[in-house]
Symmetry: D2
Subunit: 146 residues, 4 copies
Amino acid sequence: MQDVSSNASIPEMDASEVNAFLAEVFPQISIGSAFRVEETSKGFARVRMFFGDRLLRPGGTISGPSMFALADVALYAAVLGTAGRVALAVTTSMNINFLRKPGPADMIGEARLLKLGKRLAVGEVSLFSEGGPELVAHATATYSLP
Amino acid sequence: MQDVSSNASIPEMDASEVNAFLAEVFPQISIGSAFRVEETSKGFARVRMFFGDRLLRPGGTISGPSMFALADVALYAAVLGTAGRVALAVTTSMNINFLRKPGPADMIGEARLLKLGKRLAVGEVSLFSEGGPELVAHATATYSLP
Amino acid sequence: MQDVSSNASIPEMDASEVNAFLAEVFPQISIGSAFRVEETSKGFARVRMFFGDRLLRPGGTISGPSMFALADVALYAAVLGTAGRVALAVTTSMNINFLRKPGPADMIGEARLLKLGKRLAVGEVSLFSEGGPELVAHATATYSLP
Amino acid sequence: MQDVSSNASIPEMDASEVNAFLAEVFPQISIGSAFRVEETSKGFARVRMFFGDRLLRPGGTISGPSMFALADVALYAAVLGTAGRVALAVTTSMNINFLRKPGPADMIGEARLLKLGKRLAVGEVSLFSEGGPELVAHATATYSLP
């Protein structure tokens, strides 16, 4: 993240603030039971998706829509952590590459903002299985800011 | 779809065969309760996603991961309708643009194959709200064939 | 294109107007020698890229950057034909799939707008070789409107 | 890059070998006059695109097709540096986000492989202006391996 100059290490909203905000504004994201924001800093967020049967596809792998959801929540958390409360930010596009089969475990999404403009935010997310070093999926997405 | 020459109107698997196959091989797709393949022909499929509370975001709109799932099921149905049983086809990438807010209604995905090669299938999907003329979202995706 | 209601068949700028505008504002596009807009209507444009040695890659195929350029010009022509003079429309993203090798011939790009909003236009382009029925490439792109 | 285990720091082809190979196999890339591979290591390549009038758009900015070309060459160099001579690797898709206007200067593409499988390679590229800290564009692309 290059747009944010001062106090680069202090987010506008820390992880607990983002969790509280998401639980209030987007109850269907199931913060606490399905996802948990673990860290935010300027231009960055790390989010955990808890493993559970609802995520599964045959063969024990995690479904594409679940990975899409993790990427979306992680980037939104990075926008919130960097820009503060922007409840109405809307996902306008996402490009996601599925690289390897995830195992039956929690997944971690690490999101980095590539640009935070007045009207658009663009970011990328790397998705890992808990404890695995390899990338499972990678996404880039654009958000329209209100 | 240009790769398939003869009997262009007769799919390898019709809608009821694709529904039966998906229910057997991918029970988590909830064919019958969440999705229903309505039509297949060579290079094409139309799939309905039933409206329900599980899809909702605040404001009554349908979530991004749900639309991702509909796009994925519709393109997979087009691959099955055109190539027959390829249970192990894997989504390798998807690019999705969210264009307008869908209302609280069933959504329809119309998928067309752009290429069906030996190793890769590429297609596009247009997503509509039931009864609405306007595109709600549009996706292109790539599948690796076994 | 669903946003434009009345006089759906009459473009804001016809093909010759778009050609003149592009030649004036973007001389590097080489309208007349490299590209020519052949038709515009509301939500649509067809653009020809003249074959020439500058486009070639080994094996007689046309380079990826040349196809990217054709997709970009065709979508921009569709925006101009639909919205009129918007000289400062900026490409913010493009997703392009290369499906088949084009032969040594002119290429045709047929662009359709999927959305024309106040701030963003989104469209798709199908690229063909002159005289060939098969899709050579397919792109979707987003433009930021001034 | 996680697929390549041993001797992670020693590329299969170093920068001068990749430059010689590209000049031989893809003369239209104009290695030496338009592009130069500056560094390769396992899973990585850095490529310079020399500034010149051919790249320009009005306002002194560099054209989208030129940035597409730099992203493509940089990722191809990363594939060559990591896997060795794979002359027939073919770009099957690219997703590119244009984030800021580049100035009239050389551009640098830094490519990282996200996956190098038997049939597909996937990577991402960050594009900068020489001397500027900010991302100008970001791309992800897929290559089909012979």
